[in-house]
């Protein structure tokens, strides 16, 4: 290895500017109301003196912060020492690392540097960022950490072999990569309605993660309520809808180009590599065994174009951001390649349980979806009656389809949860990675022997609602059994692994 990480070292000197820019940006972000407040009153020329003074101070802070920031690698952990007044020593054991991400914001791209972000599964201070590292160094660091985190339990000699990662590179299979045409395709098949909202939210408050809140809110609305929200918003916004539509399409295209510019992904031997981004170029390196959930989504347009989007979720505390990796435009070939790597049992087609929800769910969906028509009938008139009847017919038709779209399939190692008819959502998780299984129901459902099965994973919980008790009990017992079996295998494997025998 040409680069030596054994001794504590500073980041690249140009990092001072990047740290300074970050500090300034944070300052602006947290004090912008004051700035705006100041401009409202009478302005005096000497107010502007504050700007160079503040810049000088942040610059000095950035310099000291840079000088006192060290990172190095010990035998089993990545260590960072930082802090101006209060010193902090972060020690990240290799096996706790979830993913290593290289990123190049506009500033880094100008200076030819790279940032390195290390994600861990912890709930607080879950990530660590080096903002300025030479490109070659960063790549060595990423490869080194990747080899360490996937072979955390392997013997020492094995790890040293992994350091020259050339053979690994050769074995990687290409996955999705996007050119301009691909980007336009992806951009046009986004959820424009949602993007219009996101765009508006972003426009109105450029600050503090509003995009994530709106997106979470939209995802958090229960499926039964979405139609209600949808209809009421349509009634409210019909005049503005056209503008919203155009705005939404533009936002979709813009955000897709920014985010997925020169998108490239490959499946390595034991991890996924993704590169993307225009202004901020990201390189993700995610080991397979640190992937706790994959969510496959498609809508009608995407199905027409023959692809779906996959979202990769890693261990993270509830509500904390964590790393989010999306791969758009997964065609069937890519899906098969990814499933071969992640969930080989899905391809066997050996489905042990194939469960649909109890009939009750159908009535609940129907009842919830017909609420708008009842509201219309509260003020009876001929027109209202006609609209309500049309809505009821539409709802009756879609509810059947939606009800039939709910499906739970259990293969030998994986669980597949499917839902949605227009917007399809398929979540896949491994039983060996489950953190807990819960059987939940209220007293009324209990009498009918119906309930909800909740799978707790390190990346959040996933629920399959309204299924029969007997089926749920069988699935739960089977899932726990598979989990324990995997654990047992893992605890006995190091003793009899072929690698050891060969040595």
């Amino acid at each position: 290895m040409s680069v030596d990480f054994d001794v504590p070292k500073r980041q690249h000197p140009l990092g001072v500017f990047i740290i300074g820019a970050k500090f300034t940006w944070n300052l602006v972000r947290s004090f912008w109301p004051i700035f705006i407040g100041a401009t409202l009153g009478e302005m005096e020329w000497y107010y502007f003196l504050a700007i160079p003074v503040v810049l000088l101070f942040t610059g000095a802070f950035a310099l000291v912060y840079y000088l006192r920031f060290y990172f190095y690698i010990s035998s089993d952990a990545l260590i960072v020492e930082r802090g101006i007044f209060q010193r902090e020593r972060l020690q990240i054991p290799f096996d706790r690392i979830q993913a290593v991400q290289l990123f190049q914001g506009p500033v880094q791209q100008i200076f030819g540097l790279t940032g390195v972000r290390v994600d861990t599964a912890g709930s607080s201070g879950s990530e660590l960022e080096l903002v300025a590292v030479r490109k070659s160094e960063a790549r060595v660091l990423q490869q080194f950490l990747s080899s360490k985190m996937t072979s955390g339990t392997a013997p020492e000699s094995d790890v040293e072999m992994g350091e020259d990662a050339a053979p690994l590179e050769q074995q990687s299979k290409p996955l999705v990569s996007l050119g301009t045409a691909g980007l336009i395709k992806v951009g046009l098949s986004q959820n424009h309605f949602k993007n219009a909202f996101l765009g508006l939210a972003l426009f109105m408050s450029l600050f503090q993660g509003a995009e994530e809140q709106v997106s979470d809110w939209l995802n958090g609305v229960p499926a039964v309520l979405l139609s209600v929200v949808g209809l009421t918003s349509v009634l409210l916004f019909i005049p503005g809808l056209v503008i919203m539509g155009i705005f939404g399409v533009l936002t979709s295209l813009g955000s897709v180009f920014l985010r997925y510019w020169r998108f490239n992904s490959t499946l390595g031997q034991d991890g996924l590599k993704v590169q993307m981004g225009l202004l901020r170029r990201n390189t993700f390196d995610v080991p397979f065994d640190k992937i706790h959930l994959t969510e496959w989504r498609s809508n009608w347009i995407r199905r027409l174009l023959g692809y779906e989007t996959v979202r990769i979720r890693q261990a993270q505390a509830e509500g904390s951001g964590g790393l989010r990796v999306f791969i758009p435009a997964m065609e069937p070939v890519h899906r098969e390649a990814m499933e071969t790597a992640l969930y080989p049992d899905l391809l066997d087609q050996k489905v042990l349980f194939d469960v649909t929800p109890a009939r009750r769910l159908r009535w609940i969906l129907l009842a919830a979806a017909s609420v708008p028509s009842l509201l219309l009938l509260a003020v009876p008139s001929g027109l209202h009656f006609a609209v309500a009847a049309a809505w009821l017919a539409f709802v009756f038709w879609t509810t059947g389809r939606r009800y039939r779209s709910y499906r739970l399939r259990v293969c030998t190692n994986s669980i597949v949860l499917e839902k949605g008819w227009f917007w399809q959502n398929r979540t896949v998780l491994k039983m060996a990675q489950l953190q807990g299984v819960e059987w939940k129901r209220n007293a009324l459902l209990e009498r009918r022997k119906i309930g909800h099965l909740v799978f707790h994973t390190a990346a959040g919980e996933r629920t399959f609602s309204y299924l029969q008790r007997d089926q749920a009990a069988q699935i739960r017992d089977f899932a726990l059994n598979q989990l324990h079996a995997a654990e047992q295998r893992a605890s006995t494997e190091p003793l009899s692994s072929p690698v050891d025998q060969a040595q």
Partner: protein, 177 residues
């Protein structure tokens, strides 16, 4: 390459260890008293708040207090709420319990909203015993089990000192394998 035949018998899905057959151990009876006392205290406060409009309406004698003539609405709601909560406590408490198997622990709770959660020992990151001032007096412990991501966290409340220590020791031993 090893070419010996692998035995691969058909799976009987009813053969896997069944959770429904395990017996649940109850938590301390003293904890029920504590919960009921808490229920009583909260009800007393709420009742006081709900009765105030009635008192003002009856004895206040102000013209502008006409709003309070509907004093029975909040009171009625409060009584329904109190009854439901009491039922949850009364009928739900006997259902509280935990069961320990070789490789996992299951906690069952609730009457109106029932839940049975199983967490494998292998996935427990760390555990925590906590006591408030009241539960310390009563010798009760609350055991919290933390899993990665936090979605599977389990809180087993109202354990006697001995059983809490025993359970914790068991979990420590099992997770450290």
């Amino acid at each position: 390459m090893d070419v010996s035949p692998v035995s691969n018998p058909a799976l009987d899905l009813a053969q896997f260890p069944r959770l429904e057959e395990v017996e649940f151990l109850p938590v301390s009876k003293k904890y029920q008293g504590m919960r009921l006392a808490f229920w009583g205290a909260v009800q007393l406060l709420l009742l006081g708040a709900c009765i105030t409009p009635f008192l003002i309406y009856t004895f206040g004698g102000h013209e502008e207090m006409e709003v309070f003539s509907a004093w029975y609405w909040p009171l009625g709601l409060q009584l329904v709420f109190a009854l439901l909560w009491f039922l949850e406590e009364w009928k739900g408490f006997p259902r509280r319990g935990y069961a320990v198997r070789e490789r996992d622990i299951t906690y069952r709770t609730g009457w109106l909203f029932r839940s049975t959660t199983t967490v494998p020992f292998g996935m427990i990151q760390h555990s925590e015993l906590s006591q408030g001032p009241v539960s310390r007096k009563l010798g009760l412990n609350h055991l919290k089990l933390f899993t990665a991501g936090g979605s599977g966290n389990l809180r087993i409340a109202g354990l006697e000192n001995e059983s809490a220590q025993a359970l914790r020791a068991l979990i420590e031993a099992r997770t450290r394998r």
